[in-house]
Amino acid sequence: MHTVTITICGIMLTVLAVFTPVSHAENVPDKISIESLQDLYAPVAFGHAQHITREKDCAVCHHHTNGAPASEERCIRCHKGGHEVKSMGCKSCHEKDPFSADVVNDRFRKNKSFHLDKPGLKASYHLSCVGCHKKKGGPVACTDCHALTSSGDAFYRTGKFAPDPAKAGKTGHH
């Protein structure tokens, strides 16, 4: 009887330990479609739960925004206790249009001392994802995460927009 109770307790603890990172917040989505920038590429079907299981630490992507202490040394000066924000999505802080006149002119004129070098939304996604994938051996080719749309094909001159090999060498000289 005693051993059975201990075993059951052990199993429950294990189950708790495994699922805690995923289930501690009710509104953590398992799948996220990253689509706000889609144009040349189709949306990314991002396996949020899969990444949580793998990384455990939310701060790897979310900095201090879930209330956990910041992990980077220079951020700790201000965000030692973590500063939780309402919306944890990348796009609530990282601008979709990082080079608009407002952003460019305000960069050094308003006091944003430690957030001067904040990348735009597109750069944030790629620096974060590709940076980590490079380190940990994840997929890094463009089409590993998102498929080219037909406007993407036209832009990169691939697929049905590929240049005619017969005409090669007609433009420019090296």
Binding site: A123, L127, R157
Partner: protein, 314 residues
């Protein structure tokens, strides 16, 4: 007797004058021309290029091709085989990315016009086809270009290309910072907009210099402690950060910090004087010095000593 004194006086005046002019151009007076002190227009824009972020996707090349309506490329922009050779900008490609191998993996380097503060192309152009705009772009006016291609020789970065393929209207082709379609309206160039990796940061040049140094400071061990373009050839609008020594990733680190014009301005200062002032002056001197003098050449070998004695007296 009085004639000789006057001649001596004139000669002394001319020689003295010439020496003074020469001295002021050659010597310390040359600093008054002050090239090298121009740090760009106060609101001049620039781009900070971070080589450590580039993954060689060539999206910037595709964006440039589309924005500038360049001819169809030989190969798709997704084709990575272009990295087998070191490419240069040409009439069909205003920007190219080259790959450099290192022990820590490949380093990619985008190249295009660096939009110098004191562009050598501009200063070498004798028809003023180039303009440095207040936004920071170095733009080119094909209507006045005579096709001498001196700018191609003058550019320290080997950027201007020539459209040799055009038999009737060949022109210089180079990156113009998307000046007409974007920069003028306060928009970043197409390559910056397209870059997925945040390699390219658009902003005021003076802000980007601070940002570049801050990025070096905040990421110890990531970057070489140098912002290429901050001082090179008098400063450029495009600035570079690299994790590898710059000379290993295709940058010329032997250019020095003086604008290219400084190498030639002393000499060029002489040209108008030598070509215009000297001939006039010396002709005048010669005419004055030989005024009323019988040149003797008409007389052949007729007793020259006699001529000398009789000639100038009047």
């Amino acid at each position: 007797m009085s004639g000789i004194s006057r001649r001596k006086f004139l000669c002394a005046t001319v020689v003295g004058g010439a020496m003074t002019t020469l001295g002021s151009i050659c010597g310390k007076g040359g600093k008054a021309w002050a090239s090298g002190s121009f740090e760009g227009y106060p609101d001049g824009m620039g781009v900070l290029v971070d080589l450590t972020r580039c993954i060689g996707c060539r999206t910037c090349e595709a964006a440039c091709n589309k924005e500038q309506k360049l001819p169809e490329p030989d190969r798709p922009f997704s084709d990575q085989s272009v990295f087998n050779t070191k490419r240069r900008t040409d009439e069909g490609h205003y920007t190219v990315v080259n790959k450099y191998d290192s022990e820590q993996g490949p380093v990619y380097r985008k190249m295009q016009c660096n939009h110098c503060n004191e562009p050598a192309c501009l200063t070498s152009c004798f028809v003023n086809a180039y303009t440095k705009t207040k936004e920071g772009a170095v733009v080119y006016n094909g209507n006045v270009c005579v096709g001498c291609r001196t700018c191609m020789v003058a550019c320290p970065f080997n950027i201007p290309a020539y459209s040799y393929s055009s038999a009737t209207n060949p022109l210089i082709k180079k990156c113009i910072f998307c000046h007409e379609t974007r920069l003028k309206k306060g928009l970043p160039p197409a390559c910056v907009d397209a870059c997925p990796q945040g390699v390219l940061t658009f902003g005021h040049r003076e802000d980007l210099i601070k940002l570049g140094h801050e990025r070096i400071r905040n990421n110890p061990g990531t970057y070489v402690d140098h912002l290429y373009g901050e001082k090179e050839v008098g400063g450029t609008s495009w600035l570079y950060l690299s994790g590898k020594p710059f000379e290993q990733v295709g940058f010329d680190t032997t250019l020095g910090n003086e604008p290219i014009i400084s190498n030639v301005k002393d000499f060029l200062g002489f040209v108008p004087m030598v070509l215009a002032i000297w001939p006039a002056l010396f002709t005048g001197v010669h005419l004055l010095a030989t005024k009323g003098k019988d040149h003797g050449s008409d007389h052949g070998e007729d007793t020259p000593v006699q001529n000398e004695k009789e000639g100038p007296r009047s």
